[in-house]
């Protein structure tokens, strides 16, 4: 892989997608949200996880690959599915504990993995409005592990979010999710950004790997976190995408470069 690094050109977005894809196991049932999660799920399906089951909120359950959808429900993502059903049905699968892995985007995430997709500032008089939960609250409430993907900036990595749309580990106290009534052994497990990858230890976000292959440094990562982030003692370099993964990403997952190409942006510059 290190041999590739010298010749292989890839962006921070490519690294994000590859790191996310590596999280998907062959036996996983993956609930995929709109955007980058689709790229990760498709990359995994074309490479190391051909048997994973992909669930899309409108009511799509499938084990074959499909053209990258520009939303969640398209005729491409529907056609030749294993089952076409409803949002109700797939959400019940989650609530009853049958979805191993959830993949969501996020407006903001905080120290304890709480996600804000609603407002910045006061709810009734906000300085910024996102469209709201969609299915994200359901995914993070139900799935055994939820992986959050977002581009990182200090504004989006706050110590405490203004509004909890999707509950993480709340204020970090152990057992709080369960006390609230959320299913046991659920919650955010990994956060993947264009700078690095984070895990949760005792309900708190910990920096686990840095995208060094695209030139990111620890200082850069720390500068884009709104609190004094814990750094794992065995911090590592993110495993870069392989030549094969990059080929598949460009030729099969996103041949028209809608996401990986068209939306390729410099790290840390996102709103």
């Amino acid at each position: 892989m290190n041999q590739n690094k010298a010749v292989l050109e890839y962006s921070a977005t490519d690294q994000m997608v590859a790191t996310a894809a590596h999280q998907i196991k062959n036996s996983d049932v993956v609930y995929v949200g709109v955007g980058l999660p689709f790229l990760a799920a498709l990359l995994a399906k074309y490479t190391h996880a051909p048997n994973c089951t992909i669930i899309i909120e409108n009511g799509i359950i499938r084990t074959t690959s499909f053209p990258l959808p520009a939303a969640t429900d398209t005729l491409g993502s529907q056609t030749m599915s294993d089952q076409l059903t409803s949002l109700f049905y797939v959400s019940c699968l989650g609530q009853a504990g049958f979805i191993s892995t959830g993949f969501i985007g996020a407006g903001q995430v905080d120290r304890y993995g709480n996600v804000n997709d609603t407002v910045v500032g006061d709810y009734l008089n906000p300085t910024h409005r996102w469209p709201g939960s969609g299915g994200a609250n359901d995914v993070m409430s139900f799935c055994q592990r939820t992986i959050i993907m977002l581009r990182q900036s200090k504004r989006r990595f706050q110590e405490k979010v203004d509004f909890i749309t999707c509950p993480g580990y709340l204020d970090g106290r152990p057992g709080q999710r369960e006390e609230t009534g959320l299913p046991p052994s659920t919650g955010p497990s990994v956060v993947i950004t264009d700078l690095g990858c984070y895990v949760f230890e005792d309900g708190e976000m910990v920096l686990k790997s840095i995208h060094s292959g695209v030139g990111i440094t620890l200082e850069q990562v720390k500068a884009e976190v709104g609190w004094d982030i814990k750094v794992s003692p065995d911090i590592e370099e993110s495993i870069p995408p392989t030549e094969e993964e990059m080929r598949i990403l460009r030729e099969k997952v996103d041949p028209s470069q809608v996401w990986v190409g068209g939306k390729r942006r410099r790290p840390g510059k996102e709103p």
Partner: protein, 298 residues
């Protein structure tokens, strides 16, 4: 009983100002033609219950909605529909749920029960601002759980691939929140690509999403879900619609030309074809995948 009528008749007869309105089609096959007719008839003070219905932005922009029961709506003022509603002092109240929350409220409505327990939304701040989601104690275990209050829409509209004149309606592909939403609704309007013989329905009755006796009106309307896609019928142009109705100037042009500037959806389609060109519509044609017919009988 034959319930076939025009869109104009169906909307004026079965909808009224102040209705709680359910719109089907969660990013798949929404009743666009019916929505345009509601705007044309200026049926106002609506409470809208729906998930991801693209053309409902027109109801919002034209100031017809008092309250939106929603899981996901752009409320950013960079959206012209929002800015316009706000300028007219017609910005609705947003009652926010997760998508499953909206689905559950409708499911409880369909079941005829006052509320339904759930593990979704608890632990979130949505409960602070939405009095129709609560944290309660399970009466059996004493553990905390969530509860969502039932919603019973006054009117529900669903667009389907085929229905018979009685209203037996069949939709396939993803059904989002259609099943619970349309079955929770008191009055049901079915709009359909094609009215088929009842025998067609009865040879494949598992596909029926709502039975005729629950339906008040049936409207035959080809391309009734355009600009959204509809399984087995046509592909969509959702992003084209968002682009066209996003900026102020083109939104106003769209409303003038394609809502108030036409009498009905057939005229709308004719105008779209003239402006967009045949090739645009040819590109929406699908490569058909045929399934094996199912067998019934005794």
């Amino acid at each position: 009983m034959n319930k076939v009528m025009t869109m104009k008749e169906a909307i004026s007869k079965y909808m009224k100002a102040g209705d709680i309105l359910f719109l089907s089609g969660m990013q798949h096959g929404e009743p666009s033609a019916a929505i345009h007719e509601i705007v044309r008839q200026k049926i106002e003070h609506l409470t809208l219950v729906s998930c991801l219905v693209a053309t409902s932005a027109l109801l919002l922009g034209e100031g017809l909605i008092d309250k939106m029961v929603t899981g996901y709506t752009s409320q950013d003022e960079r959206s012209y529909a929002i800015a316009k509603a706000k300028a007219m002092n017609r910005l609705p109240v947003f009652e926010e749920y997760s998508h499953f929350g909206v689905s559950l409220a409708l499911f409880a409505g369909q079941m005829g029960i006052p509320f339904i327990p759930t593990k979704s939304q608890i632990g979130s701040d949505m409960l602070k601002y939405n009095e129709n989601i609560k944290s309660i104690e399970c009466p059996f275990t004493g553990e905390k759980t969530g509860a969502v209050r039932a919603i019973v829409p006054d009117a529900g509209i669903i667009h389907v691939q085929r229905a018979d004149a009685d209203g037996n309606a069949q939709k396939w592909g993803t059904v989002g929140v259609d099943q619970e939403g349309i079955n929770a609704s008191k009055t049901v309007i079915v709009t359909t690509e094609k009215i088929v013989d009842s025998e067609v329905i009865r040879r494949d009755p598992n596909r029926t999403i709502i039975p005729g006796f629950r339906v008040s009106a049936v409207v035959e309307q080809p391309w009734g879900a355009y600009p959204m896609h509809l399984a087995g019928c046509y592909s969509g142009d959702m992003w084209g619609f968002y682009g066209e109705t996003g900026p102020q100037e083109s939104y106003e042009a769209y409303i003038k030309e394609f809502v108030y500037g036409v009498n009905d959806w057939d005229e709308y389609l004719k105008k779209r074809r003239a402006i967009k060109g045949e090739e645009y519509f040819n590109n929406l044609q699908i490569n058909m995948v045929m399934s094996e017919p199912i067998v019934t009988g005794y």
